[in-house]
Structure formats: C-alpha cells, structure tokens
C-alpha cells in the first residue's frame, strides 16, 4: 500500500460511518447513501493531497454534501424520482435486526420509524445542521464549514430544528409513554 493510501486509510476512513449516516439523512434513503458515499470517498481520495490541517471529518462530510447535491440535480435533470418504497428496499439493507421476540422488535421499529419520520420531514437546511451537531458532534464552526454558511445561521437553524422536533416529540411522548421502557 503506498504512502498516500496509507495516510488516507488512517485519516479519512475512520469517518466512513459518519459519512454514511450523513449521506443517509441527506438523501433519506440507504440505497442513495451507498452511491453518494462511494462517490464521495473516491473524490476525497483524488483530492486528498489538498487536505490541510486535521479536520478530516468535516472535510469528508462537506464532500458528501456536495456529492448529494450533484446526485439530486442529476436526478432532477433526468426526472427520475423513484418511489420511496421501492427505493428503500432496493439494496436489501436491513435496518432493524430481524431476530428476537417479534413483538418487542416491532415496538422498537415503530419508535425508530417515528423519530426517523420526524427528522425526514424537516427541510434539508435544518435537518443537516441538526444531524451534524447531535449525531456527528461537530461544533458550530465545523458545521458552518461543512454547510458553507455563517455561524449565526448555523445557530438559528439548529435552534429552529430543535424547537420543531421537541414540539412533535413531546406530542408523541405524551400520547405513548409506555412503549419506551
């Protein structure tokens, strides 16, 4: 393995799960996330010599975001917008383990789907900031770098996303307090 590849494996590949999660929440589809991440990793590798400093995670996530934007605009151009259902099962991803007590599993799956749906329903501007902060643990400055907006915009989007989510989540929690134990 050559030197560039070795450094790439050490600096960038540890953030592959983060890239996959981010792609998944941008595209709202595991099948698309595969393509986006593959595209992003290859682009990152080709441009790896340009990476300065240590923020490989933010750098990779910014590339993921660009790849997603490209794939969206391509889809639009071709007017190829697949139905969400057939999309979700296309690659045969199993997001919920199919072992164990079926009743217990179905409760968990229902919960995840509901919070999934809440996130998916947020506009992308809000969704991406929320995911980068709460799941990927980027700080405001790093998020501003990935999304390419000023820090003040990051703060207001994050705040509005949290407020919207909290409101619906409270409604859900008050209607279903028994399923969480």
């Amino acid at each position: 393995m050559d030197e560039k590849r070795r450094r790439f494996e050490a600096q960038v590949m540890p953030h592959l799960d983060a890239a996959f999660r981010f792609a998944r929440w941008l595209s709202r589809s595991p099948g698309d996330a595969d393509d986006i991440v593959q595209d992003a990793v290859l682009r990152a590798y080709r441009g790896f010599n340009a990476l300065r400093g240590s923020d490989a995670k933010g750098w990779l996530l910014a590339i993921v975001r660009n790849c997603h934007a490209t794939s969206v605009s391509q889809l639009r151009r071709r007017a190829l917008v697949p139905l969400p259902e057939e999309h979700d099962v296309r690659d045969g991803h199993v997001l919920v383990a199919d072992t164990g007590d079926p009743q217990h599993e179905s409760i968990l799956a229902d919960e995840a789907r509901t919070l999934d749906e809440l996130i998916a329903a947020l506009p992308q501007d809000y969704r991406e900031v929320l995911i980068l902060r709460e799941i990927e643990e980027l700080d405001y400055r790093e998020i501003a770098g990935v999304v390419n907006v000023p820090i003040g915009t990051v703060m207001s989007r994050l705040s509005r996303a949290r407020a919207a989510l909290k409101k619906h989540w409270h409604l859900r929690a008050s209607g279903d307090t028994h399923g969480t134990s």
Binding site: K4, Q38, Y140
Partner: protein, 263 residues
Amino acid sequence: MAHPDSQRLEAYFDNEISAPDAADIDLHVEQCAECRTQLQDLVRLRAALRQDLGHYQVPQAMRTRLARALDQESGTDSRRPSRVPFWAGAFGGACATAMVAVIAFVIFFPPPGNALVDQLVDAHLRSLMPDHLIDVESTDKHTVKPWFAGHADVSPAVGDFEQQGYRLMGGRADYVDRQRAAVIVYQHGAHLINVFSWADDRRGLPRSLTRNGYQLVFWRSGDLDYCAISDTAPDELQRLIGLLQALGELRGINPGVNRNPPG
C-alpha cells in the same frame, strides 16, 4: 440576570460560549426552573436522537466495495510514476494479506471490555429517557446511600459536592455485568453524570474512552469498580472523580462494605 434567549441557552448547552458567560448562565439556571426544564429537554432530545439515529453503520459489503475501488484508484496512481519491480509487488501483496488478517482479527476478537462499555453506554442513554433517571430522588447522601442497601449489590461512596458544582440528584439501580450496580446521579450545569459502581471481579477495567460522544472514565477504589459517564467536558468529569476518590480514601481501606461513615 434575565432569561437567556433560546439560542444562547443552546449555545451554553453546546459548550459554545465563553467561560465567564457560562458562569453567568450557571447561576441563572440554578434559580430558574424554566431554563432547567429547557436544558433537560435538550439533553433528552439529544439522547433520543443518538439512540435512534446514531447507530447506522456502513455495511460490510460496502466497505469491501470501497476498498476495491480505492485499490483501483491507487493502482492508477502508482502505475503512473514507474513500473514497480516484481519483488515489491509480491511484498505489497504479502502486506495486504497481513492487513486483512489484522482487520479480521480486530473484527472477530474485539478487545475485552467492549461488552461492558456497551452496557454502560446503553444504561446511560436509557437513564436519559423520560422517567428513567432516578429511583430514589434526593440531594441528601444519607437518604441515597441507605437506599442502595436494599436495591443494589454494592454500597459505593456517596457525597454531595454542590459547593463544587456537582449537585447530587439521587440514585438508581442498574444491571452491569450481571450485577445490580449502584448508580449515583449528579448534575453539573446542563449535564447529567451517572456514576456506576459494581463489585470488582479482578478482570481489569477498560481504559477511559469516548463512545457516542459520551466520556467514560473507569477507576477502582477499594473492592469496587467505578465508571463515570457523561457528555460534560473531560476535565470537569475528572474533577468529580477526584472528589469521589478523595471521599473513598476518607472512608478507609474498604469503601465497598455496606456501612455509613459518621457525619
């Protein structure tokens, strides 16, 4: 001080404001139930998001595909400058094989303590869900400590460090390593800290680490193993641990024995 607006309170929650500003809000939050509720909501929302959405991982098939794509990419890179002699290729092949063996080893034989870490992180996240945090709610160590006698298998050092900024909130029993562990809950600013303790089984503790954004710090005191877990800053977690360790030393050689210190 007036209520901080929600963006400012969130910046405080996200550790994005200066230390003096944070100290102002610390003081305000102490006295303002409304802001405390908002902070709790933020903590719970984050915990729920991380639990429900944070676990997606790249499927193995995809990792393999990516590695192959990168092999092709780096192949075109290395072919450009010069032809690689045969022995270097053979050596590279051997390195790749060794690499695969190492990766397979790491995947199939994870380091010990992983299961313990998973249990602790799960228990911590569960505790952040509504109504799961505390079984015995009290800021009085003389209430919390005796409660463990009937509900957990061990009796850890319990102290209230409100003066130092770590407010005792109560206790809880949780299963760790197939024992009923005693959990002490502290609040530090906007952060909750769970301190787990269970009987030491001489298997050695994992090193301190970060998992899902939560710090886990392990230590041993007397015949008990402890783990403090929180999303607070590492040095702030260390400070509480220092206080707890000092308390354990005060109680003598055998802090795990179920007896209350005088005073």
